[in-house]
Symmetry: C2
Subunit: 442 residues, 2 copies
Amino acid sequence: MAPQDSDHGRTVAAHGSRIDAYVDRYAARATGMVASEVRALFAVASRPEVVSLAGGMPYVTALPLDVVGELVADLVARRGPVALQYGSGQGDPHLREQICDVMRLEGIEGHADDVVVTVGSQQALDLITRIFIDPGDVILAEGPSYVGALGTFSAYQAKVVHIAMDDEGIIPESLAQTVYALQTAGSRIKFLYTIPTFQNPAGVTLNAARRAQVLDICQRAGVLIVEDNPYGLLGFDGEPMRALRADNPDGVVYLGSFSKTLAPGFRVGWALAPHAIRDKLVLAMESAVLSHSAFTQLAVGEYLATQPWREQIKTFRELYRERRDTMLSSLESLMPAECSWTRPSGGFFVWATLPEGLDSKALLPRAVAERVAFVPGTGFFADGSGARNMRLSYCYPEPERIREGVRRLAGVVEQELQLRDTFGAGAFPDHIGVDTPGPDLA
Amino acid sequence: MAPQDSDHGRTVAAHGSRIDAYVDRYAARATGMVASEVRALFAVASRPEVVSLAGGMPYVTALPLDVVGELVADLVARRGPVALQYGSGQGDPHLREQICDVMRLEGIEGHADDVVVTVGSQQALDLITRIFIDPGDVILAEGPSYVGALGTFSAYQAKVVHIAMDDEGIIPESLAQTVYALQTAGSRIKFLYTIPTFQNPAGVTLNAARRAQVLDICQRAGVLIVEDNPYGLLGFDGEPMRALRADNPDGVVYLGSFSKTLAPGFRVGWALAPHAIRDKLVLAMESAVLSHSAFTQLAVGEYLATQPWREQIKTFRELYRERRDTMLSSLESLMPAECSWTRPSGGFFVWATLPEGLDSKALLPRAVAERVAFVPGTGFFADGSGARNMRLSYCYPEPERIREGVRRLAGVVEQELQLRDTFGAGAFPDHIGVDTPGPDLA
């Protein structure tokens, strides 16, 4: 048995504090930086026998790897001294032109001079938060919203206020009321963060009529919009949606990414911003990393210049559509009747709601034991909501694995329902704050 | 003539404010984010007829480009699905092992689990500042210090206090006195930021005896050391210096980089940190960019695994030694007698001091007109010092260009001296704050 005398107690305390000798020296913003309690589970979930419906990883195996290999070798041979050198803080000028071509598919007439190339669009989120947010400032965001954005907002000590959404995206009345109430109360709303198209995690899309309303409400109230659009070109039906940015160049910062239309391994994203904000973004970018990799920027540029990238996006679209179909039909045929879920018309994710009395985080360990993983809903809210929700992604597993994953998940939910009906709803732990996602869960 | 009535005045004001509609909405930290006044000059200085002694760009043309090209093509062919996918927030595990091998050359016994791979060591600087600095906290730094670090510290609203240095690096007595005075006054010193070896910009190296003293002073006072060491393996004489981190694993965060020993275009740097700090760094990393490019990390890993990288570093060392020799002999034979400068035994930079009454920033436009560029000294201080200093880099231009650049510079200084002796010292503008460097000036 351990001795109980006070000297030993002190020794233990001293040892305990040595676990982190710097515990009382961190910045206030770092106090919220704690590893998510579900991380350990996801480490288990990455084992091959587990069907992961948790990750947001694109299926890069669908890329023509031989072509990409030749392209990067050719890049070094022809432009090595540039590709291997420091680049500009704003990003490669030619790539910025090409990015404008990509955005034109969504109705955006942007200028290369207003584009900043970033280390994935995650960095664009970080930089825009850095230049706008003082501790306590308000950011509006859909509820649920992207877990990686909530983590960044939390790291800058923003207060996130959620806007209600339904199957057609943000509910404009909810936005208008929230803005009015906050501004009346003297809150400093810095921006609305929205993923209007094939939202992560909800899988829903803001319809055209509501886009006009959201733009109008924000313009009248003087609220900047940060439009995050990594999935916009991955729609399963018809033409791409018109971006919010297309109809208000002065009031919208647009964030884009090649992570889903090409490959995340290059980490090339961007922000298109009103000119004055762009100035600040470039300075923040240089302060953060000096410049992005010239190599990966030029590789993306060569890919766009020499390869049929629109055709490749079409390949991705068809691949993800098949997986979406498999997931929806599997859910329909296998999940207990009390469950519901969204029906995405693009992107990577389905947002499911469990029957009353069930808690998705409590369910996760059991699901992992049954060799299926998902992301519990609470991570996608800053206010503890989402206990009955889960994000199910269909982007990475092959269709037959998706069906098997849903079958396993349905079995776990079924068991939980039997327990609930026998013993009543359990007491579930409260959510303990925003989880920083692992990169593969973004 | 413009009308002077008040209505028009209001219109003008409204238009004026439209230049930046968001001017009153930025975070407090963003108010200091303004472009350096010397940027426009450096744009001119990048023209081929100008000899730039300003940049800190390594001479990547000395790399075997054909080998690098084959290596990246092979990487995509063999490991494409991993190289093009999201990676872990902490960085590729095998690369982290290899980084430990590199650090061992400087006496460091680190563990791969305590390494975080970052987007250049600049990002390591940003993240360490992010997790430690609340506005007003004190960071100690050599005077002069790396301009990119000062910019980052400023972006987090730190107060930088400089420690005096001489040709042997930080003066321990100055460090001890400053720490004592600040702690007595109740200041929160968060860390000492130091580049002990081949310092940027001063070109000097902390000697072995002082290393022990600096470690001792910081350990007694409970001051964390952030050791930034991008040039450590680029010494011109003998073996690499023993890193500070080698003698105090718990009290030093070590920052390293492949930008100077391989190529900056991959943007691969790292931090080696005590375990608890490493935990925070990983979370901050994920919040900032999710993960670094798997592609560039694996490319660096393949390079280290398959190429004679120690031999390549030797090639770089010999190349830079020749340029250092050229610069020193040119300064000796060409500069006016009243000038002085440091004599680096490694790295990229000479720190020159102009005669009394001369101001390096005022001199820069004239120098650029004479087709030579340097970085004025004030950017390397947070307190307005350095008006008589300039950083001269010898890393990038060929030796004959270095000699020609120094010749032009000496002519400009000579002319200024004649003006001073004829008319007396001019009234020079005060420095207006820390300049964020362009990436090529880092």
